[in-house]
Amino acid sequence: MPIVLYRVDERLVHGQVVIGWGSQLHPDRYVVVDDDLSQSQWEQDLYRLGAGGAEVVFSGCTEARGRLAEWRDAPQRTILLTRDVATMSRLAEGGALNGESIVLGGVHPAPGRREALTYVHLTEKEMADLAVIAAAGADVFGGDLPDSQRVDLDHLRRRWNSSN
């Protein structure tokens, strides 16, 4: 079973993902790719509370790159989450996410970020990283919920440019 959703969302395993996306995609497993969380049992326990009974796997980015094929080939329906663009970008290096769709969700205001969508704010580096991910063959778009309008990367970039 392919990984059914790749998503960048600072909140990781939370209501919008578990209820909004999960009710449509019916995941058996969430894979959280995050170097810090993969070392923190307390935080892992906290995030597991929100998974609605699905398995939650925490993995550092390097380990995750080595396990992508395993997760894609497994029978479980998997949602893969990162909480920042940088981690998704590292995961995508070398075309590892070629042909996959990557949804941008909750990326909130922070110093150096500009609004691309009400729920996506990006720095110049993050916007550049997304372009690299897309150039390597991934379909990158904004979408907070599965029923909301998909916002393609080009459109997202234009809105980001105009929010100077």
């Binding site: 909140r11 395993v13 939370h14 906290l46 909750g106 009400t118």
Partner: protein, 131 residues
């Protein structure tokens, strides 16, 4: 009664729900609602939400009331209260629980948490209806 030592309440939740609950307490209990502060997750990332909860809880004893245990609000409350002896988190906040809270803030934190969990649960029931 002096505010010293009395427990403060922080309601953290989705959208306008926290402020709505504070407004509801104010309409029923009047100035006692001043013991409550609303923190919405609207437009906030995890770090900002956590720091807002932390600031609202302040230095004294505080209970952070959360709408959903799972998700960004519950996580922010857990992070803000982790390791803090004078803070507690109650998930699944409802209006009866808050009304009980504002009139019993003089209780010790542990006793108050136990009481509020019970009063919040007790308020959830199916109403008897004539058929």
């Amino acid at each position: 009664m002096s505010e010293t030592g009395r427990v403060r309440g922080v309601i953290v939740g989705h959208g306008q729900m926290p402020q709505g609950l504070v407004d509801a307490v104010r309409r029923i209990a009047g100035d006692a609602a001043q013991a409550l502060e609303a923190v919405s997750n609207d437009g906030k990332g995890p770090d900002l939400l956590r720091s807002d909860v932390d600031a609202a809880a302040g230095e004294g004893p505080a209970i952070v009331f959360v709408d959903l245990q799972t998700g960004s609000c519950g996580a922010a409350a857990a992070y803000a209260c982790r390791g803090a002896e004078r803070r507690a988190v109650i998930c699944g906040v409802n209006l009866p629980m808050l009304l009980d809270f504002v009139f019993h803030r003089e209780l010790a934190l542990d006793a108050l948490v136990t009481r509020l969990v019970e009063s919040g649960r007790a308020a959830i029931k199916a109403a008897p209806l004539a058929r």
